[in-house]
Symmetry: C5
Subunit: 359 residues, 5 copies
């Protein structure tokens, strides 16, 4: 496929849509800044990269293959080969997936490669076309811009995951069903996957921001350090999502157990009321000839009254044990703990109203 | 917004409420000690900081942005850029949140930045206004005072969390309800969040107290080491809270299972007593013509007696299996283990012959 | 057993099926490249290796013994002794097992040893026989080819495990049975075992690709680095399988609890409907002489109507509590969460204004 | 409060109960060995320490404050400031708590501080009073003796915890109740707390035994190494206690589930026997005019016989499914596994042919 | 107690059963190789070791005391003091325990100490008595032989644990009872304990095989490296046992839940069938005067038929929900997953029948 290519000549002129010959010439001039972006790399593209730029066959192989490559930075002296991951916005999966961006970073060229479409790369192209400032600051800064945009694009996904985690947290209390569990586990898998990609990514950016790579100038390192900080923040927020899913899981399982409890209680109460009463009715349904109560005129009404009394007594017993009239007890249950959390805030909020005297 | 600013001139005179021009002059004089505190930093504030003090744009960007920035220390030779977290006392969340304090620490200036109101900073301002001693000891000591106050302010929250954990522990045994679970999980999330902030914070303070930063003098390091010790202590107490929540969770789940057990027992006992008796009543309610017992005068009373006997026998069976008369068994259950803990203390208390003096 | 042996003479001529004497001569010549492959090593083979090549007895012992040897690299100055693991395709176990490949790598010889048949070694033999290119690049490259083929052969097993994990995930929701659990646990054990083998393997390849071993030339290291990357990728995919089994386990246990819940609900509903009605029937089956209703002509129909009404009321009560008419509620349950995941994708897909080109 | 103080003059004479002036003189002489022990340190004590010995204010602050200070060692060139933890034998808590011992170790003085009474310090005082040998070996050895005694005093508590864990393990199988769970969780918290104190403690002793501290002589290091070994041993035993509590928790939860199972079985058996029989009795209690069986003379006895037969058949069904007659099956269940453990011992005991001598 | 002692004179003559004087003389000669083995060390033995060999009192103390000492290596320049652990074959515990072997390794002497009888030491004595080869290779090799034999003796225990884990795995599916759980937890504790001993042991052997200890010659290090590999293998197999116990625990808990499910199903089915029917019988047992059905001649038979029909319909309902006729469904459940595992093997086994073309 045709490459997207930009060349900022030493005179500060920006050319784009270079032919393969022009790319070769620009690379050989060792001047200005050349950026070639390759999407959906074919075998032919790989050969072109290998021949034109003299990239190592193994690095090119990583670009061509559609396998997943964990984040890494390889130092080939003349250039760095960096693999970083962003969120794959093109996928259709229910679970968050990642997309790779491979960057060859040389003294005056950047070759970026990605087999999936990346919004971050598109946005950098857009800003390069509008304004050459990004390219004027050098190859290491251009590579930083690409990687930074990629990492920043993870944030909305994290925000979305946090929102979903909030929704799940609510749903898990109000109406926990099997799909709730599936949503919890999908979110957990998303967070776990993101964590596994972010951890080596952080290491890669740490090494670039601290390491002694020839092609990254001293004053560009702080910018990579900044991306490192972003990755740490993403990891942190992602960890919060993981904690929330763990809590949601605990709440879900507890809610399932509680619902079962309620089912059991209904059963127990029904049985405790009606089994004894059925026995009483059964007794007076016996056909013994000598059952004096049967002959009294008030017997039937006495039994009906007794049945009513038994129902009232047993209901009262269950009520006193806290098995019925949930509403009231639940309010009792909620109150103190809400107050607890209130107290937590209130206490700490006001505890140093008086100024601190001896520092 | 207007900055809060203090300048201790080399002559030991304290001025406050400096204009922007005075701040620039004080900074350029390279003498005395200048402290500027910025709350709720706007884009304009950021530009002022960048232009007046020559701070790195990325560091200023961290101050202006309202994102969360994990604790870190960046060395810019001329100054350190330190981000530390305290507890956010202004938030309304049920979960403990953290508030950032960013500090630029130079040889003779301190610029502090926080987008949320911080009591610790207010208390330091108050003591500076009362007494210039804090500022006379130098920029590194002033920065230490700010960070120390921030970290110390976490303690009451930890204390509060411990109290809540105690309350939960009690409630989880006496009356475990769904809100109890929610309180447990909220507390756990608070503790986990605090842990995630404290771990890198400890690293930051360790690096300042051991590292070779130009702007932190040798004899000031021990004071940062002291804050490091406080962070370790906070982490320790926080870990205890996490353990307590884990235990509370286990107790809660066990209590739910136990309650279900009790519900089931009531049901089983009721069924075991009344189903057989209902059968007996049913048998004598059959309409067979040839049922000799029906014609006896004592039959009815015999059946009533038999029913009473069956109830007594079955109750006794359940009692002997430990299903009823909980009170007694529970006391048996508690006793030995309470004694265990007594023995734990007692044994260790007296195991050395040396008498306990009023040392 | 006879060895499989190849010798590429300095003149570039390939000989195979060498006699023991020829092997000794080729080894002593210190020229060309000698490859000896030993399968199912006997004690005699071990002695031959020890005498001919002067290998250390302990390394030879590792080859002869059928115990499992964790991945390692031992440096004997003149040669490296490398143990790596692939998947054992010959085993009959339900759980994925690993097979060892031991490689002695010298300046101009490679001795490979494996007590189980390995497809990867066979395929390398095949390509050597077709084309001497592999051997012309030197001993370190030949050893790389052997190890690379072994590691690459793990991939289809990982793919298969992922497919099984997908199948399990489906089955666990639709029809969770005890065998499902067994399949989950077997898959988990496979993944755990693979993880335990891969972790030290990665370390071994890291050391070869970075270390200062005499027999691995500088420009061959990058090829070992490439295998290292493959191992990292395998670990990553394997970790995904482990996560999926953990989730499947949680879903399984939750599904078991849910099924129990359904069983309980049927029981409770049946009891709640029929126990009260049986009491009513029992009351009018009592033999009191004075029961006015019995004499009315409409009494029987009134009771039948009352019974019908009670059934309807109780069913409605359960329906309003969400205990019956599952179909509708489940749809309600699924919808919002599916929409959630849709929103996750949709939101992130469109959040940057840059249009999606056919990049 | 008055200090407990000892001074071993260079002439080998031991004086005790020194006045403040004598302590100052002894410290300034730079000869002999001075030991001052401060319990329950007041603010005035702190000032005395600061002025007399010139200790750093932050170290003194750690002594005066009643906060918990994690184990640490601070090097102030002239002296070390060491904080170590032992078990608090004075506390009344159900959970094991720790007590701090702070030691200032100089070339010829030791100042120990503890706000809780410590038996270990009392015992060292006692042995110093009886025999000056401990003090004659120098300040580093005296400090070692204090720390060693403190650590050794943890052992009986660990032993006691192991015994309680054994008791719990027994009780959890025989009669698991809610208090059992509470005991398990308390023990777990004790073990976790001890673990959290021991981990940094080990690090502190490792650093003293390996580090280059001026005041610890080369041949004294091995003694600190010995304490390090004790801490490792304590950690190991403590870990066993934690494992036992984890296992006890699993057994407890399983026992609760099993008990519920038994309750359910009783219910199911009762229902399965009596519900069908009640139906039969109910059928023959119907008032149809045309029910031929009712008129036979043997009908009643046939029904009674049928009822008896049904009871026997259902009991047999449950027995064959293993729901009743537990005794027998449980024996079957225990046997093979006890034999397993027997075989484990037996097998390994005899596996080498070498006869077991009375070595 | 008398020591077991061997002395290989420089002339290659082996003497055994040396007197204390002879031991002293042999040690002082600094020639040949002296091996003293002490079992069940008394205080007097300790004093003899201290005086004769000049061992450090703390090391000797470790030999005399019966406490557990974690694996370690202490370097005393003239000699190494090594503590390693093997399996205690003499113990009577249900849980695998470990036995210590302490070795003093000098240039030309080895002193081994163990308070429990060790088969490995006996077997080394036996081979020394038969053949002096072991002693002729030097002190470091003799110590290696002792440690190697000790570690190798762990293997049969591990094998046995694996077999028990297999048995448990089978039993947990077929007949899970409380004793099964106890066996699982005992095995888990054994594996955990072994793990805790093996981890530092590996570190000790790593240090000996890599470290610069004077008394271990360069070419002896590879032998210690070999023991290191064995320890790694033991850890690996032990980890497999731990995984199997974790899986067995999950299966056990799931099996308990499943059994409860079956109990509940029996109850629900019985109730769902007989409660409605009893109501019907109850209705026709009512004593209303106006119940037209009662007077029909077919009424009784209609009710009987209706009862039969209801039983059939309800049974069919349960069957269609998969609550009865387990046999068929279980087969359905097992099949696909067994096929899964078959497919796993089959697929990978045949996937590269065709040789790999382009390596």
């Amino acid at each position: 496929m045709p490459f997207t290519s930009y060349y900022l000549s030493p005179e500060g002129e920006l050319r784009s849509e270079l032919s393969n010959e022009e790319i070769k010439a620009a690379f050989k001039s060792n001047q200005g800044l050349l950026w070639v972006d390759v999407g959906d790399t074919t075998k032919e593209d790989g050969e072109f990269l290998e021949q034109t730029f003299g990239f190592h066959p193994l690095a090119v192989e990583d670009c061509v293959s559609t396998n997943i490559h964990p984040p890494k930075v390889d130092d080939f002296e003349e250039y760095l080969f960096i693999v970083v991951h962003g969120v794959n916005h093109a996928g259709e999966s229910d679970v968050v997936e990642t997309a790779e961006l491979a960057v060859f970073l040389g003294a005056n060229f950047v070759v970026s490669n990605h087999n999936l479409p990346l919004y971050s790369v598109e946005s950098v192209k857009h800003s390069v076309e509008n304004n050459t400032r990004v390219m004027r600051r050098g190859a290491d800064f251009l590579a930083h811009t690409l990687i930074d945009a990629l990492i920043d694009n993870i944030m909305p996904t994290i925000d979305r995951m946090t929102e979903i985690a909030d929704d799940i947290e609510e749903q898990v209390v109000q109406n926990p069903q099997q799909p709730t569990l599936e949503a919890i586990l999908k979110l957990k898998r998303s967070a776990t996957h993101l964590h596994r990609v972010m951890a080596p990514q952080r290491e890669v950016l740490n090494r670039i921001s601290r390491g002694d790579y020839r092609v990254v100038r001293e004053d560009a390192k702080i910018f990579y350090r900044d991306i490192y900080d972003h990755v740490v923040r993403i990891e942190d927020l992602n960890q919060t999502v993981r904690d929330m899913t763990d809590n949601a899981l605990a709440t879900y399982l507890s809610a399932v157990a509680n619902r079962q409890n309620e089912v059991m209680k209904v059963l127990s109460i029904v049985a405790a009321i009606f089994l004894p009463l059925t026995l009483i009715a059964g007794i007076y349904g016996m056909n013994f000839e000598n059952m004096p109560e049967l002959k009294t005129s008030w017997g039937y009404y006495a039994v009906l009254g007794f049945i009513g009394a038994v129902i009232i007594v047993i209901m009262w017993l269950f009520w006193s044990k806290g098995w019925v009239n949930w509403g009231r007890r639940r309010i009792f249950g909620i109150r103190p703990l809400t107050i607890e959390m209130e107290r937590l805030r209130g206490y700490t909020r006001h505890f140093r109203k008086v100024p601190r005297k001896k520092s």
